[in-house]
Chain length 322, copies 2
């Protein structure tokens, strides 16, 4: 394919770097924190409380996403969502994003348009937007996202503050993205509800600052799965955590999908990543904010147990689930 | 090659993501602005004047660098340098960097170590460092860098403030990276001075805040070459710029290299990119700070001329250089 692909739409080579940037920035409304938006050597953002939260991720085609499983718009949303969830997990609100995009020269401009549209859509869910970026040629499609956030005067909620006696609590759903990945991996495209969870997570962004206000002692988002991420809290805090499996909802839809695939839905809930739910610890006397559910407790010691015992995967589940 | 390459050193697959991150963060001294460093969902940085400068770049192997031309350490330095120069061009000081690294699973850990060492070395030149990041698998080696900066209470120096009558001034060298690229492209590895300029630029970071303090009305760093980047100033400011070629130094070393390659060294100086020198405009009555040289003037109108005439490349040079 040349500078125009078979459908006649331009590819990014025809547009060039500056043309592409002009196209991607045209008509955007910059987020409120923007003091200087795209078009200069750097953007300038407000950091009202004198601090800024920063995190970054790279998503690579074939590693983090597949364009036969997800649309470019969904890829854009997911890349931004993962970073917004990280900002939320500090108890902060995302003020702005800077992004990088790498793609082959023959990539249709519509693909890039759709990725950008997805990024803006997801950023818009928290009133944020993209204030700067870079567009380069690469063999694989790839997206880098850096999110900046505002703690609004609050202390950051780190992974390190959990105390024995605290309640472990969850906001958001678990196991859905894993179920979707399993479905897609078996060549199916439905049910849409679980496939959609793989394509675009639905992190409860507002729940992060809400938990911070309520006095959360530690917080993380479930990128790697509940047990792995609760394990990060336990390790950073120097405590043990006991997950109470009976408190974890296993949605009927996950039960049905698991049944069809011969899988264990509770395993998805305990270990499935990429849902970007928020997991936090709260002092026992705190009333959990709306949307949060107690799912376990913090103990002296170290490591993660489920109902008091080490989790050994689906084969081991029956030891403690009855 | 398996998890250990033929020299017996580990590859990144053997170490794993968490092992790699532990290795890359071990023993580092975080920059002064660091309120919370690596190991959480996000870093937290001081933004003392309530604003933060942010910019990002992606560098991809085979596009932005070649490992047969540059060492991994040099790639790390160059990736950081380009961003530090962008921060300096706003008149700011870099407070912290977040970085992403993508590489094939069989990449030797030593390659990643060296890229990180180069990043830290260059960041250390301005007292900054890496406070967060992401490590992923990718087919090509790639590096994304996001730099955050502090304006120290000053207004940002944008591209848009140049006024007719202002002096166009330069700090840093021009044409050296282009000469180095030309030498490498012809299969040579010396002279080291010009090849080194391709491998690692030497932007005059301190000159950015210095120019801001002195009252610079606009500023940019030369990523794309003097004429292109001065063109960005002219366009953003709605003015014309006349570059006085007689004020531009053409180093004897560039003359020699150009002679050996049958090239025009003045063309490198006028159009060669990647030196990341700083170009700024100052009111005529301002005494230029140390290290800055007047190289032209700002006029009413638009576009860039050299000695009053459009620049037409090496062939056209003789029309106006005598």
């Amino acid at each position: 394919m040349g500078a125009r692909d078979r459908e006649g739409s331009d590819d990014v080579r025809a547009l060039g770097e500056f043309g592409l940037i002009t196209r991607l920035t045209a008509g955007r409304v910059w987020p409120q924190a923007t003091l200087l938006g795209p078009g200069d050597d750097a953007a300038v953002l407000a950091a009202p409380d004198g601090r800024v939260v920063a995190c970054t991720d790279i998503l690579v085609e074939g590693v983090h996403f597949r364009l036969d499983w997800s649309s470019p718009q969904q890829v854009g949303r997911k890349a931004v969502a993962a970073n917004l969830a990280d900002v939320a997990a500090m108890g902060a609100v995302c003020t702005a994003l800077v992004v990088g995009l790498g793609c082959p020269a023959q990539t249709p401009v519509s693909t890039v348009d759709d990725i950008a549209a997805g990024m803006w859509e997801e950023a818009g869910r928290v009133g944020s937007g993209i204030v700067g970026g870079d567009v380069v040629t690469a063999e694989q499609l790839l997206v880098s996202v850096t999110a900046l956030g505002d703690l609004q005067g609050r202390a950051a909620v780190t992974r390190a503050g959990a105390q024995p006696g605290d309640v472990l609590a969850l906001c958001g759903r678990l196991g859905w993205a894993a179920a979707g990945t399993a479905v897609l991996g078996r060549g199916f495209r439905s049910p849409v509800a679980v496939v959609g969870a793989h394509r675009v997570p639905e992190p409860p962004y507002e729940a992060g600052p809400q938990a911070a206000l309520a006095g959360a002692t530690s917080m993380i988002d479930t990128s790697d799965g509940l047990l792995a991420d609760a394990g990060h809290l336990a390790e950073a805090s120097g405590v043990g955590i006991d997950v109470h499996s009976g408190k974890l909802t296993v949605a009927q839809r996950l039960v049905e999908v698991a049944s069809a695939l011969g899988a264990d839905p509770r395993h998805w809930v305990l270990t499935g990543g990429e849902d970007h739910a928020l997991v936090a610890t709260f002092p026992a006397e705190v009333a959990l904010p709306d949307g949060w559910t107690a799912i376990g407790e913090v103990r002296r010691g170290n490591g993660i147990v489920v109902d008091g015992r080490p989790y050994e995967g689906p084969a081991g589940w029956d030891h403690f689930s009855s």
